[in-house]
């Protein structure tokens, strides 16, 4: 390579692409090193057999923030926020509940719940808006606070006190750290509605509705909805990833595929390059890791180059994945009792009550897989018929809670558990089992192997309060820069966390530039 490389971004997941794109736009010469042969990481599309295409691990998402869309000109590269979808809470008796962004409908739903739902959503969207300065900036330091961090804190304080008003602030401070279970029980009567909202608060986390801090995880989810409603990621080549890739490359960034980073090279406390698994060395002025912080520090850097307490905190980052992904190739459209075909394009949830969700979670705590898991079902081929052969369909199902460390190991039980999930779905959709042509079941262990996410955790670390904001991913690396000079983090493990937001990538790029870029 003749051109001087200013920055290496490890991993072409969406945050890596966002970060690289910002840096390239700032004039830096950026190389993205991607271990696999496609960009997108967890949002990269997957193929089963030759003909069945799936949107990847992240099958539903809210639009990325308007700032990123504008700065990286994503619309110009073909990105459009997807079509809004509803959530349908499936009931065994066929009395399903449809939850839209502003209203709900369903047989037997108490009238009070309908009214409460609108008020509740508005209130919590206001809370999420309140947290915006915190999410969209680097988390402020609390000691020797620089001016920019003071501004973040001031905006946050202003939003809480004056944005929400006295009563709103009181309520916000009351609920911010408590669990979603209590809040939903205080607000609604219908079990199915509560179960469905609870899933949004906990899916992807090793948390049940009764886990403290699940209001916060729900607010993080709602924060995405401030940018637009939830939609299905149904592009053949995921639209977002495609646009981000184009945007980054147009700005001058290079993506190298099958470039698996084995080691970050450090000299005298300063990162100066990486070594690939094939032994190749790539040097750069700065290194930005989109990998899981645990992998970044424990594996790529290694304990001998880190201080003891820091290295130890890394090993104590909590984040064990609890969601498996089931991909089904179907020879026809499945019928769901009580649902019209037009409703199948929405997000279907199997989480009839909050107790059901909590029970499913309990099993995972003991390395067991519940017989009654929480399911999030989508049929992406209804939105894009290029995903499957004519008349055929693909179904993508998130299965929670599936432990990473299943008792007795995964080898023997994997297919049994996959079939159990399929037969559980079969109870809601009588013709489903007869339609299954092929399937793929990705356990958290598979997710770890294939996506290099430690313990298969979507968010590269639990979104618990003790691992959020100025403690994400850990004290000592919470502002994207790390104890290793010239080594930065830009992935989901960093503030504000996981989800297809692009915010960690954007915040990290801003931080890199603030600290002098490649100088």
């Amino acid at each position: 390579m003749t051109k001087r490389t200013d920055a290496i971004v490890i991993g072409a997941g969406h945050n890596g692409l966002v970060c690289a794109s910002y840096l390239a736009r700032a004039g830096m010469n950026v190389v993205i090193l991607e271990a696999s042969d496609t960009a997108g990481g967890m949002s990269a599309p997957r193929t089963l057999g030759d003909d069945y295409h799936f949107p990847g691990l992240a099958h539903v998402a809210c639009p990325v923030s308007p700032a990123i869309r504008r700065d990286l000109k994503l619309e110009r590269y073909g990105y459009t926020p997807g079509k809004s979808i509803d959530t349908i809470a499936l009931a065994e008796n066929g009395k399903h509940l449809t939850i839209g962004s502003n209203s709900i409908s369903g047989d037997g739903l108490p009238e009070s719940d309908g009214k409460a739902y609108t008020e509740f959503r508005n209130q919590y969207l206001a809370f999420a808006r309140t947290l915006r300065p915190l999410f969209e900036n680097k988390p402020p330091r609390l000691k020797e606070i620089p001016f920019a961090d003071k501004a973040t804190l001031a905006k946050l304080g202003w939003n809480i006190r004056f944005g929400l008003g006295r009563e709103g602030m009181n309520e916000f401070l009351r609920v911010a750290a408590i669990n979603i279970y209590d809040v939903l029980n205080d607000t609604f009567e219908d079990d199915s509605l509560k179960g469905a909202i609870a899933v949004d608060a906990v899916l992807g986390s090793a948390m049940g509705p009764r886990t403290p801090g699940t209001v916060l995880t729900w607010l993080q989810r709602l924060h995405g909805e401030l940018n637009g409603p939830l939609s299905l990621q149904s592009g053949g080549q995921s639209q977002l990833v495609h646009a981000l890739t184009q945007s980054a490359e147009d700005a001058g960034a290079t993506i190298r595929f099958n470039a698996h980073v084995d080691r970050i090279l450090v000299d005298n406390g300063k990162a100066f390059g990486v070594e690939l698994t094939n032994g190749e060395m790539v040097k750069a002025r700065i290194i930005i890791s989109n990998a899981d912080p645990r992998a970044t520090f424990s594996r790529l850097v290694g304990a001998p180059l880190l201080d003891t307490m820091f290295a130890n905190r890394v090993t104590e980052i909590r984040g064990s994945g609890v969601v498996a992904k089931l991909h089904l190739a179907l020879s026809g459209i499945p019928e769901f009792t009580g649902l019209a075909e037009s409703q199948l394009g929405h997000r279907l949830l199997v989480a009839p009550t909050m107790r059901y969700v909590e029970r499913a979670f309990n099993h995972s705590k003991y390395s067991e897989c519940s017989e009654h898991p929480v399911l999030e079902v989508t049929i992406p081929s209804l939105h894009n018929d290029a995903l499957a052969p004519e008349g055929h369909h693909v179904m993508s199902v998130n299965v929670a809670y599936v432990p990473y460390d299943l008792e007795g190991g995964w080898e023997e039980k994997k297919s049994t558990i996959a079939y159990k999930v399929i037969s559980q779905l079969g109870q809601l959709s009588p013709n489903l089992t007869s339609l299954v042509v092929d399937h793929e079941f990705l356990t958290p262990r598979d997710i770890e192997e294939q996506f290099h996410a430690v313990q298969g955790h979507w968010h590269h670390g639990e979104l618990s309060i003790h691992q959020s904001f100025m403690m994400r991913p850990l004290h000592g690396a919470a502002q994207y820069d790390t104890p290793i000079e010239k080594l930065f983090l830009c992935g989901a493990g960093s503030h504000p966390g996981g989800g297809l937001t692009g915010l960690p990538g954007r915040n990290a790029a801003k931080r890199v530039l603030e600290l002098g870029g490649a100088k």
């Binding site: 450090v266 406390g269 304990a303 001998p304 201080d307 003891t308 290295a311 130890n312 000592g476």
Partner: protein, 402 residues
Amino acid sequence: MTNSITIDRAHFRRALQRTPFHDRFVALSTAEEWMAWNTYKVPRVVDKLSTEYFAVRSGCAVMDLTPMEKYRITGRGAREFLDRLVTRDISKLRPGRVTYVVWCNDEGRVIDDGTLFQFAESEYRLCSQHHQLDWLLMSASGFDVNVEVETHDVAALAVQGPTSYSVLTAAGINDLEQLKPFDIAELHCGDIPVTVSRTGYTGDLGYELWTDPAHALHLWDAIFGVQGRFDIHAMGLSALEMVRIEAGFVMPGFDFNTTESAVRNGYDRSPYEVGLGWVVNLDKGHFTGRKALQAEKAQPARRRLIKIVVDGNKPVGEAFIYTGKKGKLIGEIKCTTWSPILKANIALADIDCINGHLPSTLWARFDYQRELKWRTAWAECHAQSKPFYNPEHRSATPPATC
């Protein structure tokens, strides 16, 4: 990484444990002054403080070292682990050698100091004043290393003083002649295998003897068996305190707060601040606290623990240090003793720097009693960079015989 911890499960039934040498101390004790050291009952004074002090300086003193914390560090990654643990460049350490080391937390503040023994390629012993298991295990994460407590499995004696070489040779430990300071040798005392290191905390010629607790009394009896020919005295910790100050050795947790003993932020100390900058090698590669120490070194010095001689012969005790008689309060004495051999009041004092420098004049203000009446005195202090007492015979190889 595996860890096995030796625990006497009934230890809690007894307030203080007895070392394997305990009965011998009981037999010799006239002072009956006992104290606790790391869960063991040890003598503060066995017979008479002055006798014990002069035994170290002009004869031979024997002290029980068993309560000293000892850790066995083994495994393929042991060297790498130790390199990251301690601030000193230990690349020259090789089997059969001992080195003095300090270790810090991430903030570059001293956790403890100790002696590091290398027995074989991947076999080390770390001796420290304070319990370090939790820190060592925490530091072991990510290394192929095994850390075991062997405090209670090794009986240890310090045999110190100008005649210690002759005493040990007479007691039947041969081949000490070529043992240089900080050397280790696997020797025998009669039939008993004993590990001997030429180390100590007295600033005099001396050896430390390490053996199986089952052999402890044989070893003791062999040494005291030559008592008729040499002046040998059992020694307590009070005499040790005098001689270690004379030698200019610091004691973490007593002369300064370690990260473990400090309660409030900012009360712990960095190696630079306590005169241990000489065991910090910032260019040796990464170690815990390196970044913080690098940053500290780039800044003007904030304070220093220094050796001072206080004029006069009044017992100094606890004292404030001023920039001049009735000048600015600038520090305090951390430990002090009257040195009988130097005929001087010597002390270690923690002094604040002014613009990165120690003030040129130091005065101590202290209270002392005469005829049960308190008086205040001022005495000028003189900073010293060298140990107060460092005799030539301490490091001569072969040691002088007598």
